[in-house]
Amino acid sequence: MFNIPKLPLAQWVDAALAWLTAAISPLTRAFAGFVRLGIDGIVSGLGFLPPIVLILLIGALAWWIANRRVAIFSVVGLLFIWNLGLWQPTLSTIALVLVSTLISVMIGAPLGILAGLSERFHRVVTPILDFMQTMPAFVYLIPAIPFFGLGPVAASFATVIFSIPPAIRLTSLGIRQIDKEMIEASDAFGSTRMQKLTKVQLPLALPTIMAGINQTIMLSLSMVVIAAMIGAGGLGGEVWRAIQRLRAGQGVEAGLAVVIIAMILDRITQNIAVSKKTIPS
């Protein structure tokens, strides 16, 4: 027992990663292309508008989707961030969150639907999701670097991996928790599988799916900050720089901006979910 050498797990992982990097390079390149395009598009698109216009637009959006309180909070919070001189990093953080969330949902929702419909797939995917969620967030930063190098693309990759589980889980849950009689009713009238999915299962699962997307956004934001360590930039970058230079004041400013962005995103997306649920009544 004492003489058995340490298992070379680290070496194995390194070797596997090296092989993977080479093997999936077309995929990684496509991913990188998509992320860069998305981030550049959003940053330049949003950056094109004067901050005050953008702030008022976001306020209007918050009012439309949520309510007046959220709208006022959004405008005041964003003005505060602008005042702190953190407008540019905030934009790039929002861009990174939006792109990562989009990718997470694009991958996560279909997987979630599959897990919702197939008991077998559900059983395979659940332990993987458990594993992904218990893994410390930093760990995802490491494989991101060999695939994409330092920078926002690597950050987005790590963010997607970290934030995808709730999108899958809650989509699956949303489909699973539909009342059995609803499914029977849909079957009894002769629905095809596709009709059942689009006309009954997805609409009924929508509130839960939206709750999953909300969580995915929140996790994305937290990961985007951590991913500053591998060059995500944005508000996380500001925090990271403040830590390295031991500048508590700057750290608090940037941290506060993150909190404000988190609250705005949360309230707005939460209300998308709720308003969908209450439309009928």
Binding site: D179, E181, M182, E184, A185, S186, D187, A188, F189, G190, S191, T192, Q195, K199, V200, P203, L204, L206, P280, S281
Partner: protein, 401 residues
């Protein structure tokens, strides 16, 4: 009468839940009980060797307590549940042998289903719910909308199409459920405890309306219930189930008068309409009666004409009940040369009930002699014999529209 046309034939149907359910079928065929099988194999028996026919245009009620397999059985008919063994033949098509596409086709064409807890889609309006069956058949909006509106009208929900199900009361929700099933114009309505979740008054209304509707649209209805009153009221015939098997098949009258076994008769004892119906609902006209000044021979003659062994004697002017005279007594009196029958009647042997006496109480009194129904003045209003009660109960089942 011609042999009725069979719409659905169920042959040796088994449904066993669990892994490798065929083991359960083997054990059932070997005569093992449901409990034994559950204990030994963890297999749950839903339906065990059920066979019966549903005739075209009839309302067949499948009745049993919860766990008797009735809901499983109805789900096997359109294969919401896969039968473990046996056949289900609808219009010469073996439903159990259909592939996915064939099954979909038959579900669309032949069946409309109504569920216990309504199963309306909360994200669709009432009208969209009713349209659902037509929608998935690919019927275009402009064609399905009038059909759905018509179906809503049939169930008395004209003008409620734009509401959402959660704005409706339970009774209205089930009307929507019924309209959804009717909208596709199916041959067969499968109704799984459709009215069980409704409160009693609404439920009675719905039953009456379904009976009325049935006579208008002429559908074959397979109606599942755990309630014997409902079964007696709705059913042209009743299939009684216990532990997954069929205990008795018959008309409501047959079930009431000749319960197949202890289990059925226990049910019948508790028929609840007996609580609702009162003496005046079930009594027959008191014909003939003898009057106090009739002679014994006249009384005997009246009895003979009507084939009775006894007769009620009343005052001739106000029909006030005096008593009951048996043929035996009248014969003796005639032999003895008695002229009047007034003093011959036996008031004690003659049970009387007021007009509003619940039928339930009457049951125990009609053992031998008929019971006289009298009004508050004591005048004879009607007669009840054992047969009257039962006939009235089963008539209620069929004619109360």
């Amino acid at each position: 009468m011609d042999e009725p046309k069979v719409k659905i034939r169920i042959e040796g149907l088994y449904k066993v839940f669990g892994r490798a359910p065929h083991r359960g079928v083997e054990m059932l065929r070997a005569g093992k009980s449901k409990d034994e099988i559950l204990k030994k194999t963890k297999l749950a028996v839903g339906v065990a060797d059920a066979s019966f026919d549903v005739y075209d245009g009839e309302t067949l009620v499948v009745m049993g307590l919860s766990g008797s397999g009735k809901s499983t059985l109805v789900r096997c008919v359109n294969r919401l549940m896969e039968p473990t063994a046996g056949k289900i033949i609808v219009d010469d098509i073996d439903v159990t042998a259909l592939d996915e596409a064939g099954l979909r086709e038959i579900r669309r064409k032949k069946f409309g289903m109504v569920f216990q807890s309504f199963a309306l889609f909360p994200h669709k309006t009432v009208l969209e719910n009713v349209e659902f069956g037509l929608d998935i058949q690919g019927v275009p909006v402009e064609e399905r909308r009038p059909k759905a509106t018509e179906a809503l009208k049939q169930v008395g929900l004209d003008g409620w199409g734009d509401y959402y199900p959660q704005n409706l009361s339970g009774g209205m929700k089930q009307r929507v459920g019924l309209a959804r099933a009717l909208a596709v114009d199916p041959d067969v309505l499968l109704m799984d405890e459709a009215f069980s979740a409704l409160d009693p008054l609404i439920r009675t209304d719905m039953q009456d309306e379904l009976i009325a509707l049935e006579s208008r649209v002429k559908k074959t209805i397979l109606f599942i219930t755990h309630d014997l009153d409902e079964a007696l009221k709705m059913g042209d015939r009743i299939v009684l189930m216990r532990d997954g098997g069929v205990v008795q098949i018959g008309t409501p009258e047959e079930i009431l008068t000749h319960p197949a076994d202890e289990y059925v008769s226990r049910f019948v004892e508790n028929v609840d309409i007996t609580k609702v119906l009162v003496a005046s609902d079930v009594m027959k006209k008191p014909k003939p009666v003898a009057f106090v000044h009739d002679g014994p021979r006249t009384a005997l003659h009246k009895m003979k004409e009507a084939g009775l062994s006894g007769i009620f004697v009343v005052q001739s002017d106000n029909w006030k009940l005096v008593g009951h005279l048996t043929a035996e007594r009248a014969a003796e009196a005639a032999k003895a040369g008695e002229r009047w029958i007034e003093h011959l009647t036996t008031a004690e042997a003659c049970a009387t009930v007021p007009l509003d006496e619940p039928v339930r109480q009457i049951f125990s009194k009609v053992s031998g002699n008929p019971v006289a129904v009298i009004d508050s003045e004591g005048a004879l209003k009607g007669v009840i014999v054992r047969g009257t009660v039962i006939a009235a109960l089963s008539e209620r089942g069929e004619d109360n529209v």
